[in-house]
Symmetry: C2
Subunit: 674 residues, 2 copies
Amino acid sequence: MAIGEAPSYQKRAVLQHRTDSLTILMLLGLLLLTILTVWLFKHRRFRFVHETGLSMIYGLIVGAIIRYSSQSDHPPRIVAQVIGNQTFTSMDPPDYLAIYLNRSNASDAPSDMVIYSFKGAVAAPLQEPPLERTVTFSPELFFNIMLPVIIFEAGFSMKRRHFFKNLGAILMYALVGTAVSCVVVGAIMYGLTKFMDVTISLNDCFVFGAFISATDPVTVLALFNDLHVDVDLYALVFGESVLNDAVAIVLSESVETYGELSADEFSFEAFLQSIGKFVGVFAGAFAIGGFMGILTAFLTKFTKIRDYPLLETALFFLMSYSTFQAAEAADLTGIVAVLFCGITQAHYTYNNLSADSKVRTKQLFELMNFLSENFVFLYIGVSVFTFEPHRWHAGFIFASFLAVVVARFCNIYPLSFLLNLGRSNKIRPNFQHMMMFSGLRGAIAFALAIRETDSEGRQLIASATMSIVLATVILCGGFTTPMLQWLQIRVGVEESEQELQNMAGETMRNIPEITEQPENSTTAEGLPTGTRLHEKAWLVRKWYNLDAVFLKPLLTNSRPTLIETLPPSCVAFAKMFTTEEQITQGESHHADGDSDIDMILEQNSFSMDGDGLSVGEIDINNSGGDGFKGIDSGNVNLQMQQPHVGISSGSRSEPLQMEEVWVADVSDDGPITP
Amino acid sequence: MAIGEAPSYQKRAVLQHRTDSLTILMLLGLLLLTILTVWLFKHRRFRFVHETGLSMIYGLIVGAIIRYSSQSDHPPRIVAQVIGNQTFTSMDPPDYLAIYLNRSNASDAPSDMVIYSFKGAVAAPLQEPPLERTVTFSPELFFNIMLPVIIFEAGFSMKRRHFFKNLGAILMYALVGTAVSCVVVGAIMYGLTKFMDVTISLNDCFVFGAFISATDPVTVLALFNDLHVDVDLYALVFGESVLNDAVAIVLSESVETYGELSADEFSFEAFLQSIGKFVGVFAGAFAIGGFMGILTAFLTKFTKIRDYPLLETALFFLMSYSTFQAAEAADLTGIVAVLFCGITQAHYTYNNLSADSKVRTKQLFELMNFLSENFVFLYIGVSVFTFEPHRWHAGFIFASFLAVVVARFCNIYPLSFLLNLGRSNKIRPNFQHMMMFSGLRGAIAFALAIRETDSEGRQLIASATMSIVLATVILCGGFTTPMLQWLQIRVGVEESEQELQNMAGETMRNIPEITEQPENSTTAEGLPTGTRLHEKAWLVRKWYNLDAVFLKPLLTNSRPTLIETLPPSCVAFAKMFTTEEQITQGESHHADGDSDIDMILEQNSFSMDGDGLSVGEIDINNSGGDGFKGIDSGNVNLQMQQPHVGISSGSRSEPLQMEEVWVADVSDDGPITP
């Protein structure tokens, strides 16, 4: 079968996935509608319809719509009926197969018609039944349930400050680096398989390259967190691994698109088209994620749903999960959407939640993430043995190990060199070695590889991917601590202290005219303002400004309000989007409610929660005063906060000045208008 | 097809369900093992294997075991292969069907074998494809995911004191009443369908009786909770509806067993066998639920996992969910198991949790319960239209409404009469009317009815059940408030106040020689000890005593310890099961830590959380001092607590006396040894 000629049942499987996503999305939408109506009823003290009755009525309405409109909406399915001795022959397998059973004495029983549903294509005639199907890792379960949870949590609990500070480098590694890795792996595999007795197409080689370029954030980061590794290294590894999961998914789809468009030879048009698809999918998913986050922020800001923390948490949870399904239903990538949704939710919506819901949402996602992660790795372990279409080939596996190492090398070192040309805060060689070592392959690579295994090439890929995942998670995961020691990367150091030192060191080395304040400085002047200013690109600065002046006041209940930040000409608009909560908001609440601070504090406590050693070491620093067992990092951060704390304790009642707000929101990126 | 001759593919579906349960149980077990190992590693500061690596290694081991042992373990599946022009004829449908596709130019493609999996039997040749399959209520999803959550939460947040006080009446309604209802519905339907143009077997009539006898706890109880209805009425309705769900499920299985054993005529042997099955299933599930709860209590008491609230919460959650799957895998009823597991967890394990985990588990189950409930009713609404094998028959539906009303009448009034003969606290007529009215049918009846619809009778049943569910949830649910008013059942009254009055009233009326203490009495002597004593059966008293002297000290970290409660001869045993935490436990903690009080406080705040009106009304009573937004009920209860509060504030250091412990634990049931 030529590559260009994708069998129509594969298309139908994709269509099925999309329909499933739409269905789930519809149900989620209904649930959201129910929650909002329940809130409205509670709010208005209307008691005659209970929420369950309400759910049912909404369901009835939608069911009726589906019933009487679906004939035209849905793609036609094929049902074949095999009755009696009829022979079934078809070019195209039907979705459902109905078979009449020839029971001897059952001529009066019309019920002996059984139905079969289409499962997929198999490589060879089955020698034995697909026995342990249920114990085998189900990519759909993973992609629909586990993955959204893990990625949302990554975005939600992200140290946004460190992430955005290193955004350029992260994007470089994640976008360019993953593409480089994909191409290198593809080329090496294609070259080496020429000398082996395996049949694998060029396209499949690049698909393998895309799959295996997804590095896993879970294991290394958890260890980094436990060990208090340098924050910049942490941000780089975290950012790369989270974003490149998304990149690898989109990339593999693009390569597949490319494969469908052109057969084995190179086609520039198909290449452009797959790049176009890549950009479109990424941008679309980004837009959906941002939109859903902003919508949630609006819903939580402009309704009084915060009076009912249970409803509020449910709303937050459902909106976030809907994002994933919405992106999937729109044929975009749910993972990118849910990542940005998580970031938006943490940055805006989180500020609007009631104190109760803040704790609830954090703990909920933390628990779900913990269970999902462990479940995924457990499932991978079990599936290695129970997965059916294995094709172990020592040469192929060896080649793939080689390709992965070379590709990681071509990703990290050249890109680090390029990045260091423009960075004042250089990525040091030992960091580069650690990033090279941290390229574990995990659940995403695994799930992508076993999603489709109906050709020999794909089966080779699946088995090789499993080997790589096992080896890297167990070996690299196990040797992370020794490797950190060997590379002389300091661990167990208080992060903020270390960062201040780094920052001081860097600043001193590069721009000696800036005199660094001592570590325990508590004034805003402690900022290396001049330095930071030049580090940021124009776009990033504009974005920070827009965020502080317009988006935060518009979308959250935190001070300052739009009335304070917008020019007087927009006062009508500003008033419309300013709530009473926001105006009456105490300024002390502002300091507390800055979600970035919150998140940073909390993010650390997630993986170290209760870890006696770490808590003991850094508890002294927990002066954020937000009531959580926060542990962190926030030294520079808290230092940034000082002007605010000063303001609120000093009972000054006039609105904040813009400059001050700026300082608080952008943290160590410094004001642009000093 | 005769009833006795169940087609083997139905048996296989049951087997499949059991295998699925086993698989899930195995994965849950692995996850639990991982959590415990992770805890151990953290505890021992062992860092070289991270939890994800660990999960994967455990998975690998189990995968290998499955791989190399399963050939003999699993029931053999059938795979039929239809290749080329081969004709497929079979008595018994295979599980999987592999079909070779006759593609014209694909003679070199070995991959064009597609596989189908067995879906089930259909009633008639399909006229159109089963289009909205995914939008249709999936009984498996409901029974495996939603139902365990809802029922566990019911048990976990139950007001155990009120429940156990009315246990006799509840068991009467749930066990005897449901059986009566099942028989009455079955008989009426069988009688009436004789005059209709429908074919339904006697057995299916009784199966319908069993299905439709499951009353739904969700809607009415939520309203009762909002409205602060009399606690005894609440306990009766709650207890009946929770237990009779389980009874209806087991009953319908028993009736089906009976149907398999005997054809249309009555067989005493088959009848005994189905009663035996009923008792066995109930007892087995009760044992599993209790065992898992006790195991969790042990795990949380004797490990220091409480240092890591995330792990602890995960352990609690997984143990509870495992209970359901364990019972299902053992061919018992998961719903009964999970209900008793919930009760055990609340009564014992909850005491051992860290403060953080207490909040987490409550909020988690609350949210999951909320989402599950609404999702279920939404899904029901959607499915009414998208469900395929409907068979609307006006006569049958009318007959079923009649049967349901008559059956409910035969359940409530005669049983109430019988119960009142032995009760001092009579079930008043207006309570009886309200119980009659509260017999809503909800998710359980719905899910049971659509689980199997491959005969005409079953399709009639499904459509009739849907009609009844819709009508009762929307109408009875909507008219609960007017009905309460019309029956002059007081609402909006502080519960404990009302209870005290009731208690006083009852006592005065029935046993006038007991002088009732004034309501604001704060001493233990306020108890109508003499009265209460005689109300309890010997077994119940024995149980309370065992619980206070042995089980609570053994299973929880609350005082008193076994060393204090057991006779000196058992000191070695007692020491073994007494932890340091328990000994050093402050006595003030004891008063706080009594989970029953906690749960009662919390249970109310669940559905009223943030409901301005209710909070306002009863906030004054929140003197439990446990830090939650507790609202309640606890007046009598708090009164019981007084001796303890006295002790702890009075800095008395010797161990508590047994009598005092007794008073605290048994609440208003009074000491047996005055």
